[in-house]
């Protein structure tokens, strides 16, 4: 831990020295190894910001993997609290972990969430030959006998995939959420396999995880958890139009250190908006199965605050946290 911090310190010292001579080169921390979603966020947003001229130097990407993003979070809070040229990739997983106190006591109010510009819509999926035709069928079946439906998802128990069906069930007036069966498997593909195989009755995950199976005709999506129907998948109904007011998407966005000025915060929010409006970002979203989901500045901060509260309350009920 101390070694890593020391390394990070040296790295930031080098960067600061570099920044002294050159104009301000922004840095984006991806709190994971190269190749994952956070890495994609940093590299794509950083590249587009430079390409469209929102920043005058290429954005430097630093990978800082560890503790599910906790290491990077700790680094930002403890070492870089006033660094105005720092952005950090975040997603729903960041807010879920903060809500569940998985970052060793650090809380969501120790940074500022600057914006999200794209999201992987949450979905509830059943096998193509399943008797459940709509979200309503599934909810009624669980209300009648909670043991009759088991969900499979790609995140661990208490993770966001687990939370999604529970949010729906709570809206439907079903409060005994501990009775709902959920198994966490290794990723969405595995969860689908279990559901098509009949070992679980429904799958909860992200749109990008199920597109292949949907095209192969193996599964039926009974609800997508967005405000509007997703472009390209217009025949899939939202949970909202079926009477369950749940929006649960895996957003891709950024946070910045707490200690920066309001002007700088607004500046980053503006740059993010520019990226969101660009054709390059539209193409990048399409290639990676993301749907438009743009919330920047204060809007986004209050969205994250509410999300953290809701997940926190639900996790307590589930017994995932005290």
């Amino acid at each position: 831990m101390t070694k890593r911090l020391f390394k990070a310190l040296v790295a930031s010292a080098v960067l600061t020295l570099g920044a002294g001579t050159a104009a301000t080169a922004a840095e984006c921390i991806a709190p994971a190894n190269p190749g994952g979603g956070w890495d994609f966020t940093c590299r794509q947003i950083g590249k587009i910001m430079y390409d469209i001229g929102a920043v005058d130097q290429p954005v430097q990407v630093t990978n800082m993997a560890g503790a599910g993003g906790g290491l990077a979070y700790n680094h930002v809070v403890a070492e870089r609290n006033t660094d105005e040229d720092l952005i950090i990739a975040a997603s729903t997983a960041t807010s879920t972990r903060l809500a569940q106190n998985a970052y060793a006591g650090m809380t969501a109010d120790q940074v500022r969430f600057v914006g999200a510009i794209g999201a992987d819509p949450g979905v509830i999926v059943v096998a193509a030959d399943s008797p459940y035709q709509s979200l309503n069928d599934l909810v009624e079946a669980i209300k009648a006998d909670p043991g009759s439906v088991a969900f499979a998802g790609g995140s661990a128990v208490g993770g966001f995939d687990h939370i999604k069906p529970l949010m729906i069930l709570q809206r439907a007036g079903f409060d005994d959420i501990k009775k709902v069966k959920y198994i966490g498997v290794d990723g969405g593909a595995d969860a689908i396999t279990q559901t098509v195989g009949g070992f679980t009755q429904a799958m909860t995950g992200d749109m990008s995880e199920i597109v292949g199976f949907l095209k192969a005709g193996e599964v039926r999506v009974i609800a997508v958890l967005t405000d509007e129907r997703v472009p390209g998948f217009e025949d899939i109904p939202t949970a909202k139009e079926q009477g369950y007011d749940v929006v649960a998407v895996n957003w891709r966005g950024l946070y910045v250190p707490k200690g920066i000025s309001d002007e700088k915060f607004e500046e980053w929010a503006g740059k993010l908006q520019q990226v969101a409006d660009s054709d390059e970002w539209a193409a990048a979203m399409e290639a990676n199965g993301l749907a438009p989901f743009t919330k920047v500045g204060g809007d986004f901060q209050s969205y994250v605050d509410n999300l953290v509260l809701e997940i926190n309350a639900m996790s307590k009920e589930l017994g995932v946290i005290q």
Partner: protein, 501 residues
């Protein structure tokens, strides 16, 4: 024909000059790794994995390089078996039985060429089998739920543990050590840390590459230090090499049968190439009967295990690619590589990443041809490598290990852990406890536990759920048989006689 379209896609990727060069380099490295005693395919691949990261290879290229090394090592293992009576790797064990006597009769060149051809036949047929059967076997994944997976992992432990040692108790002990190590880290079902002693480095669990390199390579170095660095020496001279057409024609049916047996053994998760070559040799021996003269240096005794183990190597890729379950120690390492590259093997791999799968299959076919060309006329070059004194060889291995492991995570803690595993490996080998089940325990222990706990969630804690389907019951029976049967087969599992003169 969809297969030809897919193959064309695969060759389109694999025939690019860069990937082709990687395949040739991989074959060459692999053959040397296989030929070096003690360096087998699994540690060879494990040591070379960091190379793919430093070279910044994309998924397909990395996979091409590593599978070329994998196939190359399977070919190369026979060289030291035949010339030194020391198996270059575990699966080449059976090749010593007839290969070395043949070499001592002055037919070392014949044995090397014949075994090279047999390796080609085995590996080629297995690749064809992989091509034809893998998409079909992919459908099988829908039949596997938590209960079936639990039984499958159990089968892997039982068969591999049973084959790897003459003593079941020691194999079981080794598996338990591995399972115990797998428990270290954050429990995925509850999020609570286990056995970490508060050390943050242990929260993500123990990286099995650290364990593999420690248990195999570092332990090897300790043995070398203990023997005060006695150099390796060539036991048999190799003068000239010509192609023994008569032997090749005589053994064609042997090669075909052995390939079939090996492929099936390879598909069974956990059985792997050692079982393939053993079964191939034993079945040919029983077909030939007493008159066959197996064990005295006959051509069939060389061809059968080589065709068998190379075919098993191809077969082992089937469950790895379609189910995400490794069929052997080396595919377990390859699986780790795939996961690091963000590729999740499973039934959707063939539909979602066809370029990876068919590029791989095409490059396997290419690697095979390259290996045949490399191993038959150029066999002398590889023999030269065996003359490199061990005091040059092993420090090199040590250096590669340290650099490789450090580059994985950039943490000196992993280096300490690796040396620790080296010490563990040394002690275990001194006690004649097999290290392969330890690796398997670390690798599959977490998955096995997850499968069990998922099964318990779905069934509300009813243990009979584990025996609820015919597949699960079948796997349980196979697992128990696989564990018990070697106790009765121990008589035929004797190791080859050591060099006495």
């Amino acid at each position: 024909m969809e297969i030809f379209a897919n193959l064309a896609l695969g060759f389109g990727i694999a025939l690019s000059p860069f990937t082709l060069a990687l395949a040739v380099a991989g074959c060459f490295l692999g053959t040397i790794i296989g030929a070096l005693p003690g360096l087998g395919p699994s540690n060879g691949v494990a040591i070379l994995i960091p190379l793919t990261f430093t070279m910044g290879l994309d998924a397909t290229s990395a996979l091409v390089l590593m599978t070329s090394v994998y196939y190359g090592a399977m070919y190369g293992g026979r060289i030291s078996s035949i010339l030194l009576n020391i198996p270059g790797d575990e699966p080449a064990l059976m090749t010593t039985l007839d290969g070395y006597p043949m070499a001592r009769q002055g037919r070392a060149g014949d044995a090397l060429v014949l075994s090279g051809v047999a390796s080609f036949v085995g590996a080629f047929l297995a690749t064809v089998g992989l091509m034809l059967l893998a998409p079909m076997l992919a459908r099988v994944a829908y039949l596997f739920g938590p209960a079936e997976y639990f039984a499958l992992y159990l089968l892997a432990f039982c068969t591999l543990g049973g084959m790897a040692s003459n003593n079941q108790a020691k194999a079981a002990l080794a598996s338990c050590i591995g399972l115990g190590i797998a428990m270290i880290g954050v429990d995925s079902s509850s999020g609570l840390p286990r056995l970490t002693g508060g050390n943050l480095h242990l929260y993500d669990g123990i990286d099995f590459l650290v364990a593999i390199v420690g248990l195999f390579a570092i332990a090897e170095v300790f043995f070398f230090i203990e023997s005060h660095g006695k150099g390796s020496s060539i036991g048999v001279k190799l003068d000239k090499v010509r192609i023994p057409w008569k032997d090749i024609m005589d053994t064609k049916w042997t090669m075909l049968r052995a390939s079939g047996v090996g492929f099936i053994a390879g598909i069974l998760p956990g059985a792997g190439a050692s079982l393939g070559s053993f079964l191939a040799y034993m079945s040919e021996k029983s077909i030939a009967g007493e008159k066959g003269g197996f064990g005295t240096g006959v051509a069939k005794g060389v061809a059968a295990p080589e065709a068998g183990n190379n075919s098993a190597a191809g077969g082992a890729l089937v469950p790895m690619l379609t189910l995400g379950v490794p069929g052997s120690g080396t595919t377990a390492v390859l699986l780790a590589l795939l996961m690091t590259l963000n590729i999740t093997p499973g039934p959707t791999l063939f539909t979602e990443r066809p370029e990876v799968v068919w590029g791989l299959i095409a490059s396997l076919l290419i690697a095979n041809v390259v290996l045949l060309l490399m191993n038959v006329p150029m066999v002398k070059i590889f023999v030269k490598v065996l003359m490199v004194p061990a005091w040059v060889l092993l420090p090199g291995v040590t250096m590669i290990s340290f650099v490789g492991i450090y580059s994985l995570s950039g943490s000196y803690f992993d280096l300490l852990l690796m040396v620790g595993f080296g010490v563990l490996g040394y002690i275990l080998r001194k006690l004649d406890i097999p290290t392969v089940p330890v690796i398997l325990g670390i690798l599959l222990g977490g998955n096995m536990e997850d499968a069990l706990r998922r099964a318990m969630v779905l069934s509300d804690g009813d243990a009979m759920f584990l025996f609820s389907t015919p597949i699960a019951v079948g796997l349980w029976i196979a697992a128990i048989a696989g564990f018990v049967a070697p106790m009765f087969l121990r008589g035929v599992l004797k190791k080859p006689p050591a060099i006495t003169d």
